[in-house]
């Protein structure tokens, strides 16, 4: 499977994603510069974490107008796979490829730590290798992860199974105590109605080798590979 890791000025998880996809998972992977407008050779595009364009104005607000984003919109519309991690998620929200918006964390602090997230649905290409309710230990590292969306949109998302991950206790219980950033209904990851575009605040690429504290992030990658028959 051929992956493209999109590099914006200020991306800083691009090498981690490249390493995990190429070295850990043995897939074909290349960087895609934000000025590029041709992404036709890829099966999946990864928008990595970081601080694209310094997060000026709002996170992702400037990055979403990069030349590559128009190509990514067409790529996603054609049903091919797109994953936005952390800042990449924020960019997908600003671009309107996923519903909702990010606010500052409720505690106003940048949070960098392992959290537990619960798999809410296994009907997406990104979670098909998980079991429903499975708890994944994956780190977050963000200042704006307080996901918000209009109540009527959220209802529709829930009906269509677009809420993919929720912050939870190590046992899998969702509560305010285990919501690190104030996100509505403890949402940590969502997909579009078609399921081919995923946005998540936790970093699966930082939890893809047991030596680094957890390899639970592999569930996301393995689901994807299995969905694409790799």
């Amino acid at each position: 499977m051929r992956f493209g890791v999109v590099v914006f000025p200020g991306s800083n998880c691009d090498h981690d994603c490249h390493y995990v996809l190429g070295t850990v998972l043995g897939q074909d992977v290349d960087y895609v510069w934000h000025g590029s407008t041709n992404v036709s050779s890829f099966d999946c595009l990864v928008l990595p974490g970081g601080f694209a364009y310094g997060d000026y104005l709002r996170t992702g607000a400037v990055a979403r107008f990069s030349p590559v984003m128009k190509a990514i919109e067409d790529f996603a519309a054609s049903g091919r796979m797109v994953i936005g991690i952390c800042n990449g998620f924020q960019i997908l929200l600003e671009a309107g490829l996923l519903p909702g918006a990010m606010m500052r964390n409720v505690g106003l602090k940048f949070i960098c730590k392992f959290v537990d997230v619960r798999v809410e649905t296994t009907s997406t290409p990104w979670t098909s290798a998980a079991s429903k309710g499975q708890v994944l230990k994956v780190p977050i590292a963000h200042n704006e992860g307080n996901y918000q969306v209009a109540p009527e949109v959220l209802e529709e998302m829930k009906r269509k199974g677009q809420v993919v991950l929720r912050y939870c206790s190590p046992e899998g219980a969702v509560s305010a105590e285990y919501n690190p950033n104030g996100a509505v209904e403890s949402i940590a990851g969502i997909c579009n109605a078609e399921g081919n575009v995923l946005g998540m605040m936790p970093h699966p690429e930082r939890a893809s080798e047991a030596e680094l504290g957890s390899d639970d992030g592999l569930v996301i990658w393995r689901s994807l590979l299995s969905h694409c028959n790799v």
Partner: protein, 81 residues
Amino acid sequence: MARARVYITLKEGILDPQGKTVLRALKSLGYDEVEDLRVGKYMELELSGTDKSKLEERLGEMSEKLLSNPIIENYRMEVDV
């Protein structure tokens, strides 16, 4: 040359963690009369052109496309030609 000001404010009902923190800080300084506080953004622009309604239309476009996020924010503008 025209001068414009754009004010971006959070929509009602959207939680404002930053505003809440500033509010608490003011209260801790003894400013008990402060009932509520919300933080927004203020931008100053210099624009070429003298057609006020045209400039307002363009600035409205800019505000919706980039300067604000219509999902969570409102904008208001003033244009002086």
